[in-house]
Structure formats: structure tokens, C-alpha cells
């Protein structure tokens, strides 16, 4: 904390920067929900937050949430409705950005939250898609939040729960997904973005106090760097003030 912010706070601010003003955003839980609040309080006051349980909000909930259906997320919602009414907006092309997490991600941004090992006899049975597959397929920009460990950043996921660029190149479009795909993968060490016609994830920025060598060492494929690779800009005073206003109890410090 010598820098005045935690790694998680840097990730939250980096996630907030992925939200543009006026965006319609599938928010998800935990880190992205705080990022959504920071974006609303700083550069994106007109963003709209969607929750797959059937809730739409303008301002974030006034208290910390454990689940998206908790009472603070219901009170003052813009819309309390069904899953189909909210998730259907994905197929309708109305969703600009979506956040998801994952246990495993590969070099084309495919994410596994279902099975580690064989489907018929998994070594680890993970909870499954929830709404993640739908969001990954249909949001115009997907932002994934994943802890950067070598066993999570693999050459090829064993099971694609949520499609990224599949086998790279045009394969996503050939599967019927003409738009969308990962725009950013935010980790505790760096930010990756797709690059070039292959759509492979390349290193786009390295967080302060982390190095390219360290990031490569914790990545399960031969990670390349994008032209113009830089350091992730640290949170500004304004971004930190917004974050502290939301995270009153300091859960993310």
C-alpha cells in the first residue's frame, strides 16, 4: 500500500475505465460492481447497469452486496423484472459491455467456468455458466477479470463455457458471433487485449511494480506484447476518491 492504493483498487479503476459514458453494462458481482460505481461517479454518469436476475439500475446500490438479488439492489432500482427481459437485451444488441470472471482463460480469451478435466469425469466440477456464456457471446465488449496464475492462463481451455475469439482469426464470426469478443482481460499483474487479425491476447499494459518478465512467467502461452506497451496508469486522485466514497468499509483496500 506504499503507492496509496491496493492491487484490487487498481484493478477496479482499470475496470471502471472500460465503461464509457452512456454504456449499457452487464455488471456482475464483486469487483465489477464497484468499478461500475466508480465509472458512474467519474467519467460515465449516464451508464446503465444490468443484472441477470432481472434488475436494472442507474446508481449503484447504497450498501455492499453479497448477491445481485439482495435488498439494497432492489431498493431504488430502475426496473425489477424478469431474467428474459434483461438478458434478452443482449441478443437485441443493446448491451455495450459485460464483465465476467473465470477459473481458466486461454490465449484467445475463451473462458472456462464449467469443467476442469473430462466432462464425463471432471477433476474439478465448477459451478457452470450462469449468464456468462450469453454475456460473452453477445455483449459488444467483454471485460474479463481473472487472477493471473499460470494454471489459469492456459494455451487452450479444456471447455469453452464463454466464447472469446475461439480459435482466433475469423473463427468467432464463423460460429455465428459476428460482433463482440474480449476487449480487455484485467488481472492482478497486467491488462491483456486482443491484437491483430489473429485476435490473440497480447500484453497491453503492466501494472506498477510488476514486470513483463514476471507476467510472461505466469502465463501459460508465449505471451507477446502489443506495440506501445506501457505501465497501467495508477488511479487518479478523483478515481480514488470515488472508490473510497463507494467502498466505505475499505473491503477492497
Amino acid at each position: 500500500m506504499a503507492a496509496g492504493y491496493s492491487t484490487q483498487e487498481l484493478m477496479i479503476v482499470a475496470a471502471a475505465r472500460e465503461i464509457s459514458d452512456g454504456d449499457v453494462v452487464f455488471v456482475g458481482m464483486r469487483l465489477p460492481i464497484v468499478a461500475y460505481g466508480v465509472a458512474r461517479l467519474t467519467h460515465a454518469p449516464n451508464a446503465v447497469g444490468l443484472f441477470e436476475c432481472g434488475i436494472v439500475r442507474y446508481g449503484p446500490a447504497s450498501e455492499a452486496l453479497y448477491t445481485m438479488g439482495d435488498p439494497p439492489n432492489q431498493l431504488g432500482a430502475a426496473w425489477a423484472t424478469g431474467l428474459i427481459q434483461v438478458m434478452g437485451q443482449l441478443q437485441r444488441g443493446r448491451v455495450d459491455a459485460g464483465f465476467i470472471g473465470g477459473a481458466e482463460i486461454d490465449r484467445f480469451g475463451n473462458i472456462n467456468t464449467s469443467y476442469i478435466g473430462e466432462v464425463s469425469a471432471p477433476r474439478v466440477k465448477l459451478p457452470g455458466s450462469g449468464g456468462a456464456a450469453d454475456i460473452a457471446a453477445m455483449a459488444k465488449r467483454l471485460i474479463a477479470i481473472v487472477n493471473h496464475q499460470k494454471h489459469r492462463f492456459v494455451e487452450r481451455v479444456g471447455y469453452v463455457t464463454s466464447p472469446g475469439f475461439l480459435d482466433g482469426g475469423e473463427s468467432r464470426a464463423e460460429a455465428g458471433l459476428s460482433e463482440g469478443g474480449p476487449a480487455a482481460v484485467i488481472t492482478d499483474r497486467c491488462i491483456l487485449r486482443p491484437h491483430g487479425p489473429d485476435r490473440e491476447l497480447h500484453l497491453a499494459s503492466v501494472h506498477p511494480e510488476h514486470s513483463i518478465e514476471e507476467v510472461r512467467e505466469h502465463t501459460g502461452w508465449d505471451l507477446k506484447s502489443r506495440p506501445g506497451l506501457a505501465e497501467t496508469p495508477p488511479p487518479s486522485r478523483e478515481e480514488l476518491a470515488a472508490l473510497h466514497a463507494i467502498d466505505k468499509d475499505g473491503l477492497w483496500r
Partner: protein, 307 residues
């Protein structure tokens, strides 16, 4: 109209059979009928196909208790802890028995229940394109959109019509007319798709209360099979305007269910060793009462006039 108010124990023994396809809450994280989950376990009703978008730890408990042979679902775990330990044990080592998983996304499960609700032979959708859900669940079909001039792959989702749906509502009358508010997840689709609907009403009210606001009705009483008075029957899940989520209870379940023996001890303490929901509430004591939402945030008065 017929009086449909019955004890939860009778509703389950009369309406849920071994091998049934069952919905236990379809609102995602809130409004999960845990009181029904516990009673199904006590009555040892086995071989169930649990249809679950996200029913938090309810599905994991039923799996561990040996009641489940199939899961038709998008997500099974414990929202507080992530992984569902009983789900893991069943899929990884077949303990206490194997379960067959029919993988869905939330939206594909929604389409399946929507098709079931309105008698549609199937529904086309696009948002599971590219996912290996299409590989692990052979129930889906690929097709081309016949109305598109360019090649446009679509996925056809077969309908789901659960035998029984157990659905919590804030209030109902004795005939099964009811009010539900807050987010609805797939509750309405599940209710209309199911062969039988059993409501767990947090409060039983006079028919005039429900009739005063027909726009808040989840489904009218003629489509309801039975109504049970189960105050706090969603515990540890939340219910809008009534109950906060018992996060500590979910976390304790996650900790204690980490091992098979730990789960069995948990099951003895909170389900098998407790005769019914009233005793469960009494056992929770002040912990339960503290979860009651006490502050008032009323909606604006709504008028339905004629002249």
C-alpha cells in the same frame, strides 16, 4: 374458490413424486424455497431432476442428501463460497451418487421454460453460440435461420415443463392468488410451464388485498395447486421487502460441507434433526428475527378506478 392452504409437509407428500422434474425457486439468488428443500430431504424423495437457473446452495444440499439424479441448470454452487462441494463430489467421484448434468446458460434455460410455458415446440436463440454447452448438452439442435438472407446459425432450445414448481411469494390468499415483487428471474416462466405450482407464502392475507392490485400478481390462483404458509421459508435466501440474506449461514454451510462427514453433520443439525420449518425458525432464534426487514420503503399508492 377452493381453499388451497395446506401444510408444507402435506403439499410435498401429495404433489412431489420420486423422479419428478422440480423447480425450487427460479428467481436466481432471492426467493429460494429452502423450507421446501429441507422438507423434500426429510421425506427422502429421490431421483429428482432439479431445474435450476441459480438456486444458490439449495441444489447442492439436495445433491448431498441423495435426492438428485439429474440437474438441468446453468449454475450450481454457493453464491457466498463459489463452488458447491456436494455438486463437486457427485460429479467428480459419484458421492453420494452420480448426477447427470444437462448444461444450460441462464438465457437458454429461460428459453426452455418460456417455450414450456406457452406450448411452443422449441425456441431459437443465439447467445450460446460458440459455447461448449452445445457439446456437453446434446439436447440442443443447430439450425439456420430460415428468414435470413445470409447464413445465420441459430440454436433450437427444447421446452421444459417441470412437474412441480415450488415458488415463494410475499403474500397470498387461501385460494392461491398472490403478490410477488422485486426481481423475477424466471419465476413467471417456471410457474406457467410447471404442471403443478406450490406457493410458499410469507404471509396469508384476505382475498381483497390481492384483488386490490392485480398488476402485482405472479399468477392467478386457478393456476396454483397448493399454498403453504411459510414465513421466512426462504431462509437463508433474501426476499424483497421481507428478509435479508443470511450471509453467515451460507458461509457456514460452505465451510461445513467441504467434507462429506461435515455435510452429513450439517444436515443432521439443520434438516434431519429439525421436524419442520417452525422448529427451524425457533432453532435460529434471534439470528432469524434479526434478518427481518424492519424499515419501510412503501411504493406509491396505485389506483384502479372505473368512474
Amino acid at each position: 374458490m377452493k381453499d388451497k392452504l395446506v401444510p408444507l409437509r402435506a403439499a410435498i407428500s401429495d404433489h412431489l413424486d420420486r423422479g419428478n422434474a422440480v423447480v425450487l425457486g427460479a428467481c436466481l439468488e432471492p426467493d429460494i424455497p429452502f423450507a421446501a428443500t429441507y422438507e423434500i430431504i426429510r421425506q427422502e424423495i429421490r431421483g429428482l431432476n432439479v431445474i435450476a437457473p441459480i438456486s444458490d446452495a439449495s441444489t447442492d444440499m439436495l445433491i448431498g442428501a441423495g435426492c438428485v439424479s439429474e440437474i438441468t441448470g446453468a449454475w450450481v454452487g454457493n453464491v457466498s463460497g463459489g463452488l458447491g462441494h456436494n455438486y463437486r463430489r457427485a460429479c467428480e467421484v459419484g458421492e453420494p451418487g452420480p448426477v447427470t448434468v444437462h448444461d444450460h446458460s441462464n438465457f437458454s434455460l429461460g428459453m426452455a421454460l418460456l417455450a414450456g410455458a406457452y406450448g411452443m415446440p422449441y425456441l431459437p436463440m443465439r447467445s450460446i453460440l460458440g459455447s461448449d454447452i452445445l457439446q456437453s448438452n446434446p439436447q440442443f439442435r443447430r439450425a439456420e435461420n430460415p428468414f435470413s438472407e445470409t447464413r445465420e446459425p441459430v440454436i433450437l432450445v427444447p421446452p421444459l415443463q417441470p412437474d412441480v414448481a415450488f415458488l415463494p411469494v410475499q403474500r397470498a390468499d387461501r385460494q392461491g392468488n398472490n403478490h410477488h415483487w422485486g426481481n423475477r428471474g424466471l419465476v413467471q416462466e417456471a410457474a406457467l410451464a410447471a404442471g403443478k405450482v406450490v406457493l410458499l407464502a410469507d404471509e396469508i392475507v384476505a382475498p381483497e388485498v390481492i384483488a386490490s392490485d392485480p398488476s402485482r400478481v405472479l399468477l392467478p390462483g386457478y393456476l396454483v395447486t397448493a399454498v403453504c404458509h411459510a414465513p421466512g421459508g426462504v431462509h437463508p435466501a433474501p426476499m424483497t421487502g421481507r428478509w435479508r440474506r443470511d450471509n453467515a449461514f451460507f458461509e457456514a454451510y460452505h465451510r461445513e460441507s467441504r467434507t462429506r462427514d461435515g455435510f452429513l453433520a450439517w444436515l443432521d443439525e439443520w434438516v434431519l434433526g429439525v421436524p419442520d420449518h417452525a422448529a427451524y425458525r425457533a432453532k435460529l432464534g434471534a439470528q432469524f428475527d434479526d434478518l427481518r426487514i424492519a424499515d419501510s420503503a412503501p411504493a406509491a399508492t396505485t389506483h384502479y378506478g372505473m368512474t
